[in-house]
């Protein structure tokens, strides 16, 4: 089992994922900035990240989800600062033996991230 956490400046870039040896499922979630929030046109989101707490919380959460769902690995990349519309602000990659635990673990990880990790977004209107 492996856990990786990265906080990056600006949008999360494109990358290719190699499956962990023995993995039967690789699940990748990209959270993308949408162009409209509360009915208004958005230019970007500005992310504020309280470090080192955010990385520590993400690491503990990832380890917990990996253990409880029996995953082979979980990697999380989250943006700090400005991310434009259509760009990726969060990527979560899960490797596991089968699809069911990858899907369940993905849902739980993102739900808890949105509840327990000290990151805030601020809309930048057009």
């Amino acid at each position: 089992m492996s856990v990786e956490i990265h906080i990056v400046e600006g949008a999360v870039g494109v990358e290719t994922t190699a499956a962990a040896p023995g993995a039967g499922a690789v699940l990748v979630f990209d959270g993308v900035v949408r162009g409209v929030e509360e009915g208004r046109d958005l230019a970007a989101l500005e992310y504020e990240v309280y470090e080192p707490m955010a990385s520590q919380q993400l690491g503990a959460l990832a380890a917990d989800v990996v253990r409880s769902h029996g995953l082979m690995g979980l990697r999380c990349i989250h943006s700090r600062g400005r991310v434009g519309v259509g760009k990726c602000s969060l990527r979560v990659t899960i490797c596991s033996a089968h699809r069911a635990e990858a899907l369940a673990g993905m849902g739980e990880f993102i739900d808890r991230l949105k509840r327990d990790v000290p990151i805030w977004k601020k809309p930048i209107w057009v």
Partner: protein, 77 residues
């Protein structure tokens, strides 16, 4: 005490000074914060304190030199 996101916007700054008893617990700090800055009311009600970068139980005593932060209405992802 550190503030972030909408809590910092509500009071117009990213840290507030708070005078508390020497052996104040996190719960007492939260109550004092709500009393001292009424605009923080909704954030105090829904948030949690982090002490030295970890969520702290309400009975944890805050010591001089601790980094105390109000973690409320997070919106990552």
């Amino acid at each position: 005490m550190l503030l972030f996101g909408p809590a910092a916007i509500a009071v117009g700054r990213e840290r507030v000074m708070l005078r508390v008893d020497a052996e104040a617990t996190c719960e007492q700090v939260l109550i004092a914060m709500g009393a001292c800055e009424p605009k923080l009311g909704p954030f105090v009600a829904s948030g949690r304190l982090a002490v030295n970068h970890a969520f702290a139980p309400s009975d944890q005593v805050v010591r001089e030199g601790d980094e105390v932060a109000l973690i409320a209405m997070v919106s990552g992802g």
